[in-house]
């Protein structure tokens, strides 16, 4: 039963893999449709909680899928979701990068990279804004964002300290 379910999980996520431009976050609505509406693997509230939980864990945010897989079919489900979500896009990226490697210094590649760079910067600023808007639920949280950003820009403090201090302030209920 569990292995059949895990296989189904793998297939569902594999179908989203090549659509996941920008990582796991961009397919969250589609994931919600498949997980909550089509398969009834979790309720809508559980889905949001899992998305939040995965955000708080370290690592690529696309790994939210393994948490959903875990909910559906424990460890086999988590592995199935992880491989289903990562394998198709990773194989594509592998093939593309072998092709790209030989052309990286060609005129068209350089033009493409030059045209992508400002868009990438704008998107990074946008993620910073959106993450701040999501995390800044209180004055305390905004202060933590601001002080961490300033410390990271102008001091040599190791960023893990910022994370640890943030965690302690959160535990103390100040964030």
């Amino acid at each position: 039963m569990s292995l059949d379910t895990a296989w189904q999980v793998a297939i569902e996520f594999a179908q989203m893999s090549l659509l996941a431009f920008g990582g796991g976050i961009s397919v969250l609505p589609e994931m919600h449709r498949r997980v909550v509406e089509a398969n009834a693997w979790s309720t809508s509230a559980e889905f949001s909680e899992m998305a939040g939980l995965a955000q708080a864990a370290p690592g690529p945010n696309i790994l939210v899928v393994s948490l959903i897989g875990w909910k559906v079919a424990a460890l086999p489900g988590a592995l199935a979701a992880y491989l289903g979500m990562c394998a198709p896009s990773s194989l594509l990226v592998y093939v593309f990068s072998r092709f790209w490697e030989r052309r990286r210094q060609s005129r068209w590649s350089l033009l493409l990279q030059t045209s992508l760079a400002p868009i990438t910067i704008g998107l990074a600023l946008a993620s910073a804004y959106l993450i701040t808007a999501g995390a800044g639920r209180s004055v305390g949280a905004f202060l933590v964002v601001a002080v961490t950003a300033a410390a990271s820009l102008w001091t040599r403090i190791h960023p893990l300290w910022c994370i640890a201090i943030g965690a302690l302030l959160g535990l103390a209920g100040w964030v």
Partner: protein, 176 residues
């Protein structure tokens, strides 16, 4: 550049396991500042290419950089180095969550961690915006990408589909 799969594994492991609240700041720190495997501008280019392909940006970067350094073994080492520890951590969280539901203390700690993670992301994005490439008319595309994402709330694919052709045309036209 030749980098052994083992070294790739270790570097990407550190990015994955430390990467709270967005992996970009940690990727830049480990790959640019600590290992010097990328220059600032080179990292921007690699991140850009990773961004226009499907899949998580950092996952794509691990695969393409790993492949460039050590072929299939390098790609696998970087990919599993990056994802293995976070996968285990998430499974552990999942097990706890399924067993106990949400604990209020855990929620508060996560709130603090995400706020600090957001601060790191703000700093990293500002560092990227300090790139010399922003001192050109092309900077208008950074402003457009930001506004379309934050204000108009377009999904990434639409932002790319609309902006990349214009940007590419302008670059090509200026380079003629």
């Amino acid at each position: 550049m030749n980098i052994a799969p083992k070294e790739l594994f270790v570097a990407f492991f550190r990015i994955g396991v430390q990467g709270f609240g967005g992996v970009l700041p940690w990727a830049r720190r480990v790959l640019v500042e600590e290992r010097h495997w990328f220059g600032e501008e080179e990292f921007l280019d690699a991140w850009s290419v990773a961004q226009v392909l499907p899949g998580g940006n950092i996952i794509n970067l691990s695969i393409s950089f790993g492949a460039r350094c050590a072929g299939p073994a390098g790609a696998a080492a970087a990919f599993f180095g990056l994802t293995l520890a976070p996968l285990l951590i998430i499974c552990a969280l999942g097990a706890i969550y399924v067993r106990f539901g949400e604990l209020p203390q855990v929620g508060r700690v996560f709130g603090g961690v995400s706020a600090a993670g957001a601060g790191l992301m703000v700093a990293t994005s500002l560092r990227m915006a300090a790139s010399p490439r922003m001192r050109s008319p092309l900077a208008v595309f950074a402003v457009a990408a930001f506004a379309l994402t934050v204000i108009v709330r377009w999904p990434l694919l639409l932002v790319l589909a609309v902006l990349v052709p214009f940007s590419f045309f302008l670059v090509w036209w200026r380079a003629r």
